[in-house]
Amino acid sequence: MKILRFLLQKEFRQIFRDKTIIAMMFMMPTVQLIILPLAMDLEVKNISLSIVDRDHSSYSQQLISKVGSSGYFKMVSMEPSYKEALKYVERDEADVVLEIPAGFERNLIREGKQKVGLSVDAIDGTKASIGGSYLNAIIADFTANLEINNKATTPTNYTSKSFIDVTYSTWFNPLAQFKYYLVPGILVLLLTMIGGFLSSLNIVREKEVGTIEQINVSPIKKWQFILGKLIPFWIMGIIVFTLGLVVCWLIYGIVSEGSLLLLYLFAAFYLIAVLGFGLLISTISDNQIQAMFLAFFFMMIFTLMGGLFTSVESMPDWARNISNLMPITHFIRVVRMVMLKGSGFADVQLEFFYIIVFGVILNGWAIWNYRKTA
């Protein structure tokens, strides 16, 4: 224990002497947490619509104004032909083309049935499906409220048989605001990047400078050395996490629904796992370049597959398994559950189990992989 204290003293001195590291540890996540969610808005809004009205009737006008006033769509152009409208899609200026055919009103009244064309740019799947279904709903609503329908159907007739009234609500986030989903997740990502990148560069730097020789030739135990590296970053991580929670509260008004203690407890275990991962990379690499590239490789995977932006359940089985093998997936899940839904320990105990297993394996591996004698 005494030796560990000397190691810690040394690490802290080195960290506090390096002003760039301090600035990076505290400023980067705070600033990024303030800025990033502004840029990362996945909410589907501003769907751009190009309209082809070949009928120019009062019905077509009504339909267009109904779509326009719905608030979901931004009308970018009115074109005489589908071909012209499609150009907007090709130039990425429109997402959807609504085509009202010639004779729309006449055919509707005469035949009781008329088609309209919806052409959706389906490259961006989310936008396509949400945009398409909004437009479908608006058209259905328009149809139901058509004058001729109201006249033709007596109220009893219309509702006579079976009518199912669907009401819905989104709990824990009644206004379905995207920031509640994103901000806690970004906090986890930033914490991971700080902890992962800095710890992965740490031991390898001692290797490059040569000071590690002096450590290897001393009777320090391997676990003491790794623990000496881990604890300072762990403390910094907890401070960064606290700063992040303050930003969530001050800037975004997000306050944890669930117990803060539970959140911190999980963060504590999570940091151990992530730092162990960084230290493992550090022991594997020969130089900082390799460490950096390896860290980058895994950070990309963590960012894109950890369920931060896309749902983990929708992935294919094998990808979901990979995702579940990453510590970040579990922390993102837990942070959302506890902060947004107020879930308690019983709800997240399995995640605790996973994260502790990761922590033990990653740190054990790092200790095992660190060779005092080659």
Binding site: Q9, T211, Q214
Partner: protein
């Protein structure tokens, strides 16, 4: 008979089919200054790293301070000091902090550390530099400090790997005074060097060529045996036949 602190028998280190160290055998006695000479790439550093417990030997036997180099590296490490070729104190820690850290990780008590530190800084004349970063010191001072740190925990043996590389002659002289002082205090000194004048300061020297020890004796005897007037000549006669060098 004097006490043997390093016993080395047919020690070999092989990298693929390359013999970095090829069956070397020698003993080092307590309190002596043992010079370990050889051209670049002769295998000195490799042999030294094995004795310090930094590297596993391929075959042969060796013990340092009574501990086996295969199984008891950690016990060896408790009893030795090491100063590597690459300067390896922390440049972004102060003089005082480096002493404290390295004393601490060898288990020296805090009160003992501060006592010895005051004493050490006075001896080195570093009073004004105590709170300077080590990176800001001139090379000669750094080396002297590194040596002092290597013997701070009073090890039984200290290993010095080319400790005076790049240092001016005056500082080298002072450095050797420190080595003698340590040896007089009972610390065995195992030192590698390129400088033949330094070799003359050693009690005994071994000369390595292509992974083997070609000669081992006191400087006087070596000069006599090779009918040379200086160690330089002895070394030249032996190293001329070398097949490998660094580059």
């Amino acid at each position: 008979m004097e006490e043997k602190v390093i016993i080395c028998n047919d020690l070999t280190k092989q990298f693929g089919d390359f013999y970095a160290v090829n069956k070397i055998s020698f003993d080092v006695y307590k309190g002596e200054v043992f010079g370990f000479l050889g051209a670049n790439g002769a295998g000195k550093t490799t042999a030294m790293r094995i004795l310090c417990g930094l590297s596993y030997p391929t075959s042969g036997k060796a013990s340092v301070a009574g501990f086996d180099v295969y199984k008891q590296q950690e016990s060896i490490k408790k009893n030795i000091g090491y100063m590597s070729q690459k300067f390896s104190l922390y440049e972004n820690l102060t003089v005082s902090e480096n002493i404290e850290f390295f004393g601490g990780i060898y288990g020296v008590e805090r009160s003992e550390i501060s006592m010895r530190r005051t004493d050490l800084i006075e001896r080195l004349g570093l009073e004004k530099e105590v709170n300077k970063m080590v990176g800001e010191l001139p090379l000669g001072w750094k080396q002297k400090l590194a040596f002092s740190v290597a013997i701070f925990h009073q090890p039984r043996i200290v290993f010095l790997d080319e400790p005076t590389g790049g240092v001016d002659p005056v500082t080298r002289r002072q450095f050797w005074d420190m080595i003698y002082e340590a040896a007089a205090g009972g610390i065995t000194v195992f030192v590698t060097t390129h400088y033949m004048d330094e070799a003359e300061y050693c009690n005994r020297i071994s000369i390595m060529v292509d992974g083997r020890i070609e000669a081992l004796d006191t400087p006087e005897n070596l000069k006599k045996n090779y009918s040379a007037s200086s160690m330089d000549e002895v070394f030249y006669q032996l190293a001329r036949g070398a097949k490998r060098s660094d580059n």
